[in-house]
Structure formats: C-alpha cells, structure tokens
Amino acid sequence: MSPVPLLSLKGIRKQYPAVLANDNISLDVMPGQIHAILGENGAGKSTLMKIIFGAVQPDAGDIRFNGQAVTVRNPQQARELGISMVFQHFSLFDTLSVAQNVWLGLDKSLSLAEVTQRICDKAVVYGLDIEPERPVHTLSVGEMQRVEIIRALLCEPRLLILDEPTSVLTPQAVDKLFDVLRQLVAEGCSILYISHKLHEIRALCTHCTVLRAGRVSGTCIPSEETNASLSQMMIGSEPPALNPKVSQPGAVVLEVRQLQLSRQDPFGMNLSPMDLHVRQGEIVGIAGVSGNGQRELLYALSGEDTRAPADSIRLLGQAVGSQGPTQRRALGLHFVPDERLGRGAVPSLSLVHNLLLTRSDAINGVGWIDMNALKTQAESIINRYQVKAGGAHALAQSLSGGNLQKYIVGREIDAAPKLLIVSQPTWGVDVGASAQIRGALLALRDAGCAVLVVSEELDELFELSDRMHVIAQGRLSPSINRADAHVALIGSWMSGLWNQPAGKVN
C-alpha cells in the first residue's frame, strides 16, 4: 500500500485579470519529502503557494491534506492544519517589534514574554541570530527573512513552504539552514522549497516539480539532473553564458574618502572611515551579510542621507557628499535599491508613472508631463528588458519581483548613467532574468560606465566584479582583484578578519 501524500493538489487553476497564473496544476508531497518547485518569474509558483497557504482562493481544483479534502480559506486555517509559509515578500508590520510580529500569527493564549522566550529558544536551536525587541523597520532584508523563518518554525509545522529562502543568507548560513531543514524532515515534516538556485535544489531536494507559464512542465529527481538540464526544463533553453572580458578601467568616477557616519537609528550600523573608488569601465563588488552597514553606505552614496561631509564623496571630481539624489542624478549617478516595492517603485502606480521617480526625459521645460512620450519610453524599456507585465499601465505591485526588478534596472540603465550603483541586483530573480540583468550590467561596464554592485550572493559578485570589497561591522575591507579572491577568503573577510593572512583563519 502506498502511503497517503501529506499534500495533494489536483487540477488547480487560478485566473487573474491579466494572466492565467495556474493552469491545471497537480502535485503530491509525501511525508518527509523536500519537494522543490522550480520555475521562472511569472511561472505561477508564488500563486500556487499562496493557494496552498489560503492567502488566495483557486478558481478550480482540489486540495487534499493528509488524504482529506480541504478548503483553505485563510492563512489562519492553514496554520491550524499545520502549514507554515515563509513568503518572498515579507508580511511584517514595520512599526511593531520582531516579537510582536511573531505574536500576531500565534496562539493568543501566549504572553508576549513567552513568545519572546520561544523566539530566543528557536533562534538558539537553529542558529538564527535575532533580537526580539527590535522594531521591524530597522531590520535589513536578510534579518527580516530570519524573522519570517522563525515565525514559521514556531508553529511546529507539518508542511513548511519556503519561497526563495536563501537569497539573503551567507554560504555558511545556507548550509546551516539546510541542516535545519534536513532536521525538520527527519522529524517528519515535509517541505515545499521554491528557489531559483539550481545547485541548492540539487543538493537539498528529493523531488522537483517544474512550472512553466502556469503549467507543470516536468517532474524529476533533482540529484539525477544537472544545472543545465534543470534550467532547460524551466525556461526551455539554456541561459546565455556570460563571457566577461577583462576590463579596461579608465578615469575615477566615484571616490569615497574617509567616509564616516554615525547611525541614524539605534539598531543601525556606524560606518567607520572607509575608502572606495570606482573607475570607468569596471565593476566593483561589495560583499557582506546584510545589516553590516550596506544600508547606511548606500543611503550616503545615493544622496538619501546627506549628512556626509561634502568632499568625503566625490563624483567625477565634484564634492557631492551633502547633495541630494536629484543633484547627484544630474551628474550621472543612478541607483537601483534593494527594496523594489515602496522605494525603487511606487506600488500603487503604473510602470509609466514610475518612470518619473528618476527620469525626466518626458518632462518639458515648464514641468509639463508628455504622457505619450512617457508611455513610449516605458514600453521601450518593457520590450528591451522583456518585462512580463499587463502593459505599460500595469501597476508596479502587479508584477512579480523579478519582472519589476528588470523594469527598475532597465529604467536606470536606460538613463545612460556615468555611475550605476546596484543593491542586490538579482535578489529573488529567476535564472533567466538574473543572467539577463547581469549581462546588462556587464554590457554597461563594457560601454565605459562605472558600476558598483552591493550583493550578498558571492556567486554573483564573482561573476560580475573586477574588484571586490567586503563590508563587515560597518568597516570596509581593502579591495581585492577577482583573480586573487576565492570564496573561502571572502567568507573569512565577512567576519571582519582581513588584517590577517587567509591561512590563519578558520
């Protein structure tokens, strides 16, 4: 007798106004299985997970949990069934503390103090560093994800759904997370694992369902596949291989000299005096785990924080430390922030209107908006970067994370910047789109632009950068050429240990 699947989906269908997100999707998750869901942006993975979690209702199809037909009306009910989910877009209240956020999703009989204690206990067990009293708005993206993971674990789930869980973790932390997941599976929990990282899926998952354009395009045992065969199933062709040329750096575009800033919020990071320069035609990467001063540094570089002494930041020779984003943009500095919704784009506005955040090509001399020119401009970016959207008037919030990122990166590259600063360029973006974004950054470099990339993904930095720095505890390491850098060295630098020879670090 074959065992009953923990979760069984049959013929799930979900139609959104502009797109058929799920079309006749069926899959079984057995107890103790780590089941991967693989697919491009907009393939329908997130929608499917939201249906399982009760956040979205399907138009058709059956869900069986433990052999029983269920209708999951809301996440509360999903949690009662034993389903927990870690979303890709965090569902945390900014103004509440970590513990209060976790408390909201839990059994109300517990006191806040008890919840705090349980968070600390879980944090210790799974090695997830967290401070329960901190307000969520002071957390970095990576830290918010830790909160989400702990929140899910506190429900003692029988099925745990993880949407892009490792995007913001260090290689070491990824290994730790995998240990946690394997431990959970050994205890009988099942896991649905969504990721674009093929090697992770191959290392961790026992089964894999591949989605393409809302349909199941294949199932496989990941350990028997190669990265190439997996991505072929997913996008139908192999991602274009990057072939970075050796760069020919020119004049210095960005020069940061002894930049030092005190934190603005009590949980921020003080920036110790740091030096950094980026030249024409080179990509400089900054590695590091989030929460180590990236946020503060990027605010100072983009002009969102103007407290820096004017000549500590020079752009093409001009002291810009105390200038705002508009003046810096006029000099040719464009910036892609890591928060796409709410910072890089206004969620409730269309793609057309979101151009106006950083672009003024369609504005005439007296400040009048030429709506036709603006729409044409948006459409050209959508076409050039293959953004999947319901047209130029689609709201920013209606796009999947990867497609919105393509649009934002496209918007900034299209401005022909002299210096482009990008934070987490491919966070939560699928393989195809990532390759495309990275290719665009390399092309921009080859065209002579100076590029600064801040990322937590080492693979990405090794692929893109000509030189690298590491940021740790608000200090910036010296730069190292990519040819001289290797993962173990950068890993040890991430702990702030760049003053000792690599051999002595363990």
């Binding site: 106004p17 269920v70 969102e304 709410g342 910072r343 206004v346 400040g367 908006i369």
Partner: protein, 358 residues
C-alpha cells in the same frame, strides 16, 4: 453567512459607485430619522433634496454655499494626497476673512473696484497662508503633529476674530452689535445675475478645479507632491523633498481656505461678524473625501454638501427641527462612505457555513 473577500485589485466600479451607495444609505437612514422625530419623511426629504433645486433663486443659493466648500476642498485634496492632514481649514478660512476685512475697511467712496476686489481677495489668500504656514513651520521644524496644530489653531483664529469684532473693528454706528461696518461697494465681489447672490467666486472655484487637475495629473511637480503620500521611501529615493511637500500642501490649502473666507465676507455677507465660521472648513473635509480627492468629483460632492446646509436651515424654519440636522446628515454621509469604501477592496460573498476539517 456573508463574508468579505479581498479583491486582487481595487474595483474601479465601486470607486464611483461607493459614494452613490453612501448617498442612498444616507437617505434611508434620514427617512428613519424623520420617522423617529415624528415628521413626515417625504416632507423631510423634500426639504433636503427638492427645495434647494426648485427655483432659480434656490439654485443660486445652492451655488453660493457650494463655492466656498469647493474652493476649500480643492486645497484639502492636495493636502490629503500629499499625506499632510490639514484639519484646520476652518481657521484658515476665518483668517482669510479677517485679512480681507482689514483691506476692505481701508476702502472709501473713491476706491475703484478694479483695485479693491483683487486686493481683498489677495489679502484673504495671504491670511489663510499665514495661518497654515504656522502649522507648516511647526511640522517641518519641530515635527509637531499637523492634525493637532491645525485643529487647535482654528480656535485661536476664532478668538482673533472675536477680539476684532468686539474690539477695534466694531462699527461705531452699529448699535453696539459685534460686527464691522458694511463694506464699501467698491470691495463687493461682482455678482453675476440680478436677483441672485451668485458672484464671480464660482468662476474662481471652477478655475481651481481645472488648475488642480492639471497640477495633479499633468505636471511633474504635482506628481512628485503625491509620492510622499503613496510611498515615502520612494519619494526619498527619488529626491523629492518632504519639507517642500509639507509647505506646498499647507500653503496651497491655507490660501484656498483664505480665498473662500475673503469671498464670503466681501460677497454674500458684506461685513465681518462673529458668525463667519459656519463649519465650511470642516464640511470641506467631507467634500474632499466624498469627491474622491478628485477635482471633478469634488464639484458634485460640494453641491451635495451645500444641499445639506440649505436643507438644515429649511428644516429649522419649515419643520421646526434643529439646524444641527445639517451636521447629522454630513456625518451620516461620511460614515456611510467609509463603510461603502470597504467594497472597493473587498467583495461581499455569501458562503455556506464552512465545513470544519479534522
């Protein structure tokens, strides 16, 4: 049981339908209210919804009251879209009236209306701006809450008004009534027709509708102004100054309220009295929201609120009901609207009682 189900996208239909349904609900509750007061509901509704549009003169009165409501609401809509909560338009309206009076009292028989009328109106705008500017300064410089500051300044403005009409500006020939002398003819806002009190203020209001629409939807500055309200981090990322947005929002809305005050004292009233504040500044908040903060929508809601003002007065004289019925109807409309707006983001569904799962 009935259940609310979140819509994937806000419904465009209910954006327009919600205010209409709110109006229907207000009427239904109004009927119940009249019945409870022992009055014929048909008579009651007639007073509110038929009398104000029955004759040319009545229509004129409707416009006279809708004009200041619309002008104030236009300014408030800009404020609310910028996430600046100016609740003190009433005070700015009063200060507009006071400043306008200051100029109007300087006129004499020889003054030309071509000079005096614009001066009076400009003084009104300035008065409202000064009063709202206090709020902007405190908010920008000291992060004071603009809701509280602007609201409290309403009462200060009314005190200033009281001091002036009971003190230095009291008409010496006015039998000791607390009011200024009647303004010279040269300061009178020109009327449009004989036999009606409609004046050129209505053109200023309609011009304002057009200007606000253009500013909000066709200029970069107007677009940038609203980003702070929609996504503050995006505004900071783009480099839009939040203090500029605060100042602009408050100065424009203060100026608009001040203009309405000037049009009122130099128009239908013709002198400064303690009875200038009749709640237009507060009613305009409802006008702004019922009109969806959209310039065209607010034209309709201003007329509707004006009906309630006239209806309240008629209910007092015809049916012997208290004038505060105006406030009751305004409040009913606002609360109905807030309730109906749920339908924009949620749909109502009848679902069978859910089957409990083991």
């Amino acid at each position: 049981m009935l259940k609310l189900e979140a819509r994937p996208q806000p419904s465009g239909f209910w954006r327009i339908a919600s205010p209409l349904l709110a109006l229907v609900l207000t009427v239904v509750i109004g009927v119940v209210l009249f019945l409870a007061l022992g009055k014929d509901p048909v008579q009651g509704l007639k007073v509110f919804f038929w009398e104000p549009i029955r004759s040319a003169y009545a229509l004129g009165e409707l416009v006279v009251k809708a004009t200041p409501l619309l002008i104030i609401a236009l300014g408030l809509a800009l404020c609310f879209r910028s996430n600046v909560w100016n609740i003190g338009a009433e005070g700015q309206y009063v200060m507009g009236a006071v400043f306008a009076t200051g100029v109007a009292l300087m006129a004499d028989k020889a003054s030309s209306p071509w000079v005096m009328v614009p001066l009076v109106l400009l003084a009104g705008v300035l008065g409202g701006m000064v009063w709202a500017g206090l709020t902007a300064f405190l908010r920008d410089r000291f992060h004071a809450n603009e809701i509280l500051v602007s609201l409290m300044l309403v009462y200060v403005a009314i005190m200033v008004l009281g001091y002036l009409v009971y003190g230095p500006w009291k008409d010496p020939l006015g039998y000791n009534f607390p009011q200024t002398k009647t303004f010279e003819a040269a300061t009178q806002i020109p009327r449009l027709f004989k036999g009606s009190r409609i004046n050129m203020g209505v053109f200023l209001a309609l011009l304002g509708v057009l200007l606000l629409w253009v500013f909000l939807f066709r200029t970069r500055a107007g677009w940038a102004q609203q980003i702070g309200g929609l996504a503050p981090h995006a505004a900071r990322y783009a480099g839009f100054s939040s203090s500029r947005a605060i100042w602009l929002a408050l100065l424009v809305s203060g100026g608009a309220a001040g203009l309405a005050g000037a049009l009122e004292v130099a128009g239908p009233i013709g002198q400064l009295t303690p009875y200038i504040p009749v709640g237009y500044g507060f009613a305009a908040i409802i006008v702004a929201f019922v009109g969806r903060l959209h310039p065209a929508g607010m034209v309709f809601s201003a007329v509707l609120m004006s009906m309630f003002y006239i209806g309240g007065e008629l209910a007092q004289s015809r049916l012997g009901l208290p004038k505060s019925l105006t406030g009751v109807f305004q409040g009913l409309l606002l609360f109905s609207l807030l309730a109906c707006d749920v339908l924009m983001n949620y749909r109502l569904r009848w679902v069978p009682k859910r089957v409990e799962v083991a």
